[in-house]
């Protein structure tokens, strides 16, 4: 037993020799600076990767989704409008009508926007080309129908309108089905981005955890210094701690806001937009089917205002998620200031030792 105590005392002396106060000061200050830099890098990574995801949704996936659904709704309504013109007899006088043309213009705009923001790469471009080609073919068939009605061959006019409608509604590879698939893919892309680690609670907790480790270390250094130097506070270190605490709270709040707004956009707002547009597509399809069977006109008309409203609310929710204020500038600035204060606090005590 005595020999064990003696060996422990020798080891203790060796440790205190290894960890002289200046060396401890250098090490504690260095570790605090390193942790500050790690916090800065981690928070910056979370912020930039999260914002990249938000931008991906805001600039590509969400516009692509809305464009595909809008084009789908406009085409469905074009078919309804063409049938209505045929059944009411106005096709003989004015062709498929103004609503038909307006719908095709809206569909063309939607397809053009979709081509700009599509996520499908080369294969996606081919799919959009195919849809464009089918829309042209559809329009050609409706024009043939128009010509047949004007020439006084209504049976042929009716047949061409049926071919056009069948082309549009082909469940396997008609333009409506293809646009539906594209919209579902893009909606899933928004949801995936919304569920990414960088915009989720995990990223906020990780960043907050690093901040907690850093602040705990600074607290430990402050207390240890107070013991070793018999002074109550190291003011630069205290200032660095306050600065980092504020920065951590700012960062956590900003990342939490991103998470909240992105969740809202990728969840409720996105699904609400989808419901609105799918409702319009369903109503147009149903009205077209009724007219094709020579049934009554349901009176449905495409409500582009509602469609645009859906797009606006989605844009707005994603714009809020993209809003991080001055944090991208504040994060490096305050982190470096805190690191400088930590170094200053350490040097202040080191100066008390002879060189």
């Amino acid at each position: 037993m005595p020999s064990t105590l003696a060996s422990r005392a020798v080891a203790g002396n060796a440790t205190s020799r290894r960890w002289s106060t200046p060396r401890w000061l250098w090490s504690a200050t260095g570790l605090a600076v390193a942790l500050t830099l790690v916090f800065w890098l981690a928070a910056t990574s979370v912020l930039s990767r999260g914002q990249a995801d938000v931008r991906g949704a805001k600039d590509r996936a969400a516009p692509a989704f809305v464009s595909a659904r809008t084009a789908q709704a406009a085409l469905a309504d074009a078919d309804r409008a063409a049938w209505q013109s045929a059944r009411s007899g106005t096709i003989r006088l004015t062709g498929p009508g103004r609503q038909f043309r307006d719908d095709l213009t809206a569909a063309g705009d939607g397809l053009a926007r979709l081509a700009q923001s599509d996520l499908g790469g080369a294969a996606g471009r081919d799919r959009i080309r195919e849809v464009n080609a089918q829309v042209v073919a559809y329009q050609g068939l409706v024009e043939q129908s128009d010509a047949a009605y004007r020439e006084g061959v209504p049976a042929l006019g009716l047949a061409y309108l049926t071919y056009a409608s069948d082309l549009l509604h082909d469940p396997a590879d008609g333009p409506l089905a293809r646009l539906g698939k594209i919209a579902e893919r893009d909606r899933a892309a928004v949801e995936d981005l919304g569920a990414s680690f960088w915009t989720g609670t995990g990223a906020v907790v990780t960043t907050g955890g690093l901040a907690a480790v850093l602040l705990t270390h600074l607290g430990y250094v402050q207390v240890s210094m107070a013991r070793r130097f018999r002074r109550v506070l190291n003011l630069p270190l205290l200032a660095a701690s306050a600065l980092l605490l504020g920065l951590a709270l700012w960062t956590a709040t900003a990342l939490g806001d991103v998470e909240h707004h992105f969740d809202a956009a990728a969840g409720g707002t996105l699904h609400g937009s989808d419901r609105t547009l799918l409702g319009q597509i369903g109503a147009a399809d149903s009205a077209a089917r009724s007219l094709a069977r020579n049934g009554p006109d349901s009176g449905y008309r495409l409500n582009l205002t509602a469609a645009n409203g859906s797009r606006a609310s989605l844009d707005s929710a994603l714009a809020k998620a993209a809003e991080t204020g001055a944090l991208p500038v504040g994060l490096p600035l305050l982190s470096l200031t805190a690191a400088a204060l930590i170094v200053g606090g350490g040097l202040l005590r080191l100066r008390e030792f002879p060189a």
């Binding site: 081919d126 464009n132 080609a133 061959v153 042929l156």
Partner: protein, 408 residues
């Protein structure tokens, strides 16, 4: 100063260079093919391509889409054509060859049944611009196996259209007619008119009509249209808005709405059409002449791998493998592939009909310039809707033909 570190560095660099060269030389050339085959047809073609890749070391990237024609036009417009494309009509092959878009394929490939179908005029004269990769036998009259034996016997013995019409006349509304096929509506009617003209007026008249030397308003062509009109008059009244497959399926309903369907061998592959087990056929009377359709491979960007692919696809074992794939619906024009090579009795009989033909003619509407082919489709629909307008329709087709010479 020691030279050992320099030597070591030089050896290392040499090793790196050799490694990179070795890797580079192992890189396989990849070619792109665009085609209209999707689903089962695509799977069959990709099996054939997989063997090609294994045997040659080239890679093939096939894209199948039902709108291959539109996508090809768009790719050409963008200046990024695929290396090769499967074209659904000879008319498209002619048009692309005449415009200089297609590269000629290697000469000396074996000519199959039907002769040298793909040698067409290009900027440097007539040269082979493609190969028929998959043929479909047309000129067939289909009926359910449950049809009364007496009727079947009369159909089988019919040696002329009039005899066939007489045999069919006892069947109420005999013909299953459906001309709807979205943007391609009308083609089943063009097949009818082509077969009637081919088998009533003969191969020479048919070829003269296809080449544009026999006008649409000629008595022979007019008579073919009128005969087709009698078929339509004896069919159900909804043929304009009924799909081809749906119309053919009516012969198998518990209370059949019709008994006979005119069509190619592909009728057995249609989802809702007659299945191979339920249907039987007789050749369009009188036999001897037969009409075929086919998909043609054209080369837009010729490289070593496209030459290898063209040569590979024309090989007899490859053709044999393709036709033996269940559900491929493919027939080979190669004389080296005998009817016995086909996988089921019905296919073997169809192949035998092709082998027995004295004269094989390519589908006229697939040979016409695209504008005329489209006008022909429309003309059929217009005639079905308003038979009294026949003279106007034929005169309009003559005008379209003059405005769109072969290759346009």
């Amino acid at each position: 100063m020691s030279t050992r570190p320099l030597r070591a560095l030089a050896s290392l660099l040499l090793l790196c260079v050799l490694t990179v060269s070795a890797c580079g030389s192992g890189e396989r050339e990849t070619i792109t093919i665009l085609g209209p085959w999707v689903g089962k047809e695509q799977a069959t073609f990709e099996k054939v391509l997989a063997d090609f890749e294994k045997q040659t070391g080239f890679n093939v990237d096939y894209t199948g889409t039902r709108d291959a024609r539109a996508v090809l036009a768009s790719n050409l417009h963008d200046g990024h054509p695929p290396n090769a494309a499967v074209l659904s009509t000879l008319g498209d092959l002619r048009a692309y060859a005449a415009s200089g878009r297609l590269s000629p394929v290697a000469a000396g490939l074996p000519a199959g049944r039907g002769g040298d179908l793909t040698t067409v005029p290009g900027p440097d004269g007539a040269r082979p611009y493609g190969i028929v990769v998959k043929a479909s036998v047309k000129s067939l009259i289909w009926f359910p196996r449950t049809l009364a034996p007496g009727v079947r016997d009369r159909l089988g013995k019919a040696r002329s259209w009039d005899e066939l019409a007489a045999a069919a006349s006892g069947l109420g509304r005999p013909w299953c007619l459906g001309f709807a096929d979205k943007s391609a509506s009308g083609w089943p009617g063009t097949d009818w008119i082509e077969d009637i003209l081919l088998h009533r007026a003969g191969g020479e008249v048919y070829d003269a009509w296809v080449s544009g030397t026999l006008p649409w308003t000629s008595p022979q062509v007019r008579a073919a249209w009128q005969t087709f009109g009698s078929v339509v008059a004896a069919g159900s009244g909804d043929s304009l808005v009924t799909g081809y497959a749906a119309a053919s399926a009516r012969m198998f309903e518990p209370r059949p709405g019709c008994a006979l369907a005119h069509g190619g061998a592909f009728i057995t592959t249609l989802g809702s059409g007659p299945g191979a087990r339920d249907a039987d056929f007789v050749p369009f009377p009188k036999g001897g002449d037969i009409e075929i359709g086919g998909d043609v491979l054209g080369v837009f960007d010729r490289v070593e791998a496209t030459d290898a692919l063209v040569a590979y696809l024309t090989k007899e074992p490859v053709q044999r493998k393709w036709i033996q794939e269940q559900g491929s619906g493919a027939f080979s024009l190669s004389r080296a592939v005998p009817p016995a090579a086909y996988p089921d009795p019905l296919s073997r009989r169809i192949a035998q009909t092709l082998a027995d033909a004295t004269s094989v003619h390519f589908d006229a509407s697939d040979t016409f310039p695209p504008v005329l082919a489209e006008a022909f489709d429309h003309a059929v629909l217009e005639y079905v809707a308003a038979p009294s307008r026949l003279e106007e329709i034929l005169a309009a087709l003559d005008r379209v033909q003059k405005a769109s010479p072969p290759g346009s």
